[in-house]
């Protein structure tokens, strides 16, 4: 029983991480119907950005987590935002009206490029890099289970930020513009909305969340590598699909489901953790085949 509870807790933490990334996928897909494959790499790059920020800090600042940690978040988010904006401007925007295969393949190209750029140019990026220990240590003990404080922080950040995002999109003027663009870009344009600005902002929001996720990933797992982007990107994408692409709430709930599947399948399914990956993909395929619109998505509209 305590094993089950512990795995449930682990699953929730994993889900929180995946949710932060999945929001970026779901928002971009909701607005320009692009599977932004490179989003996982934005998450990876931000993690290295956070690490680089820490490395560049003077020694006395490194010792005080209260200063170093926020700066790392800032650095990671900044790197993620810059990468996302550049990528949107130079890779995706020229293809805005291209047939749908073209941006998808471009996204794959950007993904390969980012991963390789970090591998080649970041010092020692070929092996796992340890993440600085500026995060809260110790664990929260809840009866038979214990969750590291980094995990708790991750869940709090993830849930908090997604509520914030949902509120922003529902309440603010810009959020309304985003929803309008997602529904009908041409009409939105006629109503005085600048679609380019909305799209860039969507990428920026996604990148900020991915930046938070990137730094927290390092804090939770203590080391990072260049493969983390692809793997977690796929998980996050699966979560977004599961929840219904385009839906904020769906992405978060989908992410928690994926996190739980991963840990529970690793514990209870034949093959153990070596096959946890496989079960996620099985779920992905089943969802796509039997409920392509996801749990909270609208049935797919027929596009011309």
């Amino acid at each position: 029983m305590s094993v089950l509870l512990q795995q449930l807790a682990n699953g929730v933490v994993q889900g929180a991480l995946i949710a932060l990334i999945a929001l970026g996928y779901t928002m971009v897909y909701g607005i320009i119907q692009l599977i932004n494959f490179a989003h996982g790499e934005v998450f990876m790059v931000s993690s290295y950005g956070g690490l680089a920020t820490f490395t560049l800090l003077p020694d006395d600042l490194k010792k005080s987590p209260a200063v170093a940690l926020p700066l790392m978040f800032l650095g990671g988010i900044l790197v993620a935002v810059v990468v996302a904006v550049v990528m949107e401007r130079f890779a995706y925007r020229p293809l805005r009206n291209a047939p749908r295969l073209a941006p998808l393949i471009t996204a794959l190209g950007v993904s390969v490029f980012l991963q390789e750029a970090v591998r080649v140019w970041y010092p020692d990026a070929t092996s796992n890099l340890p993440y600085p220990k500026v995060f809260p240590t110790g664990s929260l003990a809840l009866g038979p289970i214990s969750v590291p404080w980094t995990g708790v922080l991750l869940v709090v950040l993830s849930v908090g930020l997604s509520i914030l995002l949902q509120t922003y999109i529902n309440r603010s003027r810009m959020g309304r513009a985003m929803r309008a663009t997602a529904q009908d870009p041409d009409t939105a344009k006629l109503m005085g909305i600048n679609p380019d600005r909305v799209i860039v902002l969507t990428f920026v929001f996604g990148a900020v969340l991915a930046g938070v996720a990137g730094v927290m990933f390092g804090g939770y797992l203590n080391n990072i590598n260049i493969d983390m982007g692809f793997q977690n990107g796929i998980f996050a994408f699966t979560a977004a699909v599961l929840g219904g692409v385009g839906s904020i709430r769906g992405a978060v709930i989908g992410a928690f489901i994926i996190g739980l599947i991963k840990t529970l399948a690793g514990q209870y399914m034949p093959g153990g953790t070596q096959y946890d990956y496989v079960w996620i993909f099985v779920v992905l395929i089943l969802v796509l085949v039997f409920r392509p619109q996801g749990l909270f998505g609208e049935p797919e509209r027929v596009r011309a």
């Binding site: 073209a102 950007v110 750029a117 994408f237 070596q274 496989v278 796509l288």
Partner: protein
Amino acid sequence: MTTTAAEKRSALAPLGKPFAAVGGVLSIVAAMLPWVTFPLNDGNWPDKSTLSFFDAPFALTGFRWHMLVLGVLVLVAAFAPTPSKGRVVRALGWGVLSVAAINGIYLVVKGGGFGAITAYKDVVAFGSIAGVVAGVLVILAGYGIGIEPPGNWRIKLSTPVAYLVLLVSFGAVLYAVSAMLTTGGVGAGNPYAGAIFLSFLGFAGGLLAALNGIGYTKWISHLSEEHRVFSVIVLLACALLLPFTDAGNEYWMTVAANIGIYAATAIGLNIVVGLAGLLDLGYVAFMGIGALVAANFSGAAAANFGIDLPFPVAAVIAAVVAGIFGAIVGSPTLRVRGDYLAIVTLAFGEIFTRSAQNNIGGMTNGSNAIPGVPQLSLFGTEFNKQLTLGSVKLPAGVLYYVLIVLLVAATMTVFANLKFSRIGRAWIAIREDEDAARAMGIRTGKMKILAFLIGAMLAGLAGAVFAHKNGTVSYESFKFLESITLLAAVILGGMGSIPGAVLGAALLFVLPEKLRDFEDYRLMIFGLALVLIMRFRPQGLIPDAHRRAELADENVDGTHVDELPKEAKA
């Protein structure tokens, strides 16, 4: 607000011919100027371009000879009556620019600064700068003259003359391929091999684009379409003659055989992606399944079953098993479309990789791979041994090369026949508009699964050959990146086009061999190249004659259906 293309052109128009003249002469001059001010650490930059000034203007070799040829061609193209003049001149200009820029940039990097290509210690060497200026001038001249659609020759030839033209053209292709493989030497022999090769590629690309602009390549493809059987025989003969050229050594035979395997796989993928329009991101898994099955049924050392079947039987089993998996992977296409389908195939690919990595069912041997897959042999000669044909000694591995050329030819035949059959037309209809296709009475579900099945079978067959040729089979060879590389080969070459898939596979698998200097940056350049192709030439290098509705703009390239040769329409 911004100057439109038309305004730019009108500003350039009067400058077209003068620019072409100056640029052409300048590139000829650049060919004879010195290019480097001092010998580099690895010795003189090749072809006497260090410090030499007109020392042997009639004995130019290598890239300086290429510059000279391009310069002369620019002058000829600009002042002789040439069809689609602007396009030809622009293509040649890009050739000049890339040759000059590649050599210049390499010299700056290797020589440690711009002193290497300008002035250093009283020595001047402005060759590359003159070349770059010439290239830019010629490109602008091309725009000034005006970019028209590529020429369209309607010359009808009598059969023997047409045969002769085809023979000469394909012979030239053979020569070009051999030259491309051997340029810059084999492997690490020449310290400048990478740059020399790239420069050659720039030259060859410029020439090819010019030929395309003039309408020659289109004419040849019409001719070969008319005399299909003859061209196929000649092309096959050319491919089989490669071992007799300069490229006929063990190293290039191995590389060419590997290219062939991936080309065959890419053609299979082209059925799924190019014809049926179903994006498959996990395709290499079928090749992996084929390789693993072949390894297990051929008595490999680490195989589980201890079954030792002859190669043809094992290959057929491999193809069938891969085909079955193809049908399974394809079955979601009944319900899933577009991007979502791509994700489903990606998920299947990842499931394969993960399962193979964990040695599922004891069949893949996990990360230890399956070693010791026996070499193929015919009449007691193992395929990886040297072969003596009369008095000619053929390099080792030549038999694999021959086998794989035949494999590629076979897959091409399958592809071509399918494409122009009822099934192929159904696929193209599905690609263009699935609902309309269904309304026309095409059973779309069956057809889509068939596309996956046939594509997977071809990949499985290629995988079986792969297993025997390489001797070991590891899941490492069949990961996501390989799927992307294959997809890139198909897209780079041109979706739905047969020569395109071969060319794409050749480029993507020769370049890494040639560019060992840049090994670290290989994948990065690959990613960047994908982005750039999608941006600037989404229809690929050799676009399919059927206009690609998925990727090309209207009227960018390709032919309207009513212009197609009769055979294609029938």
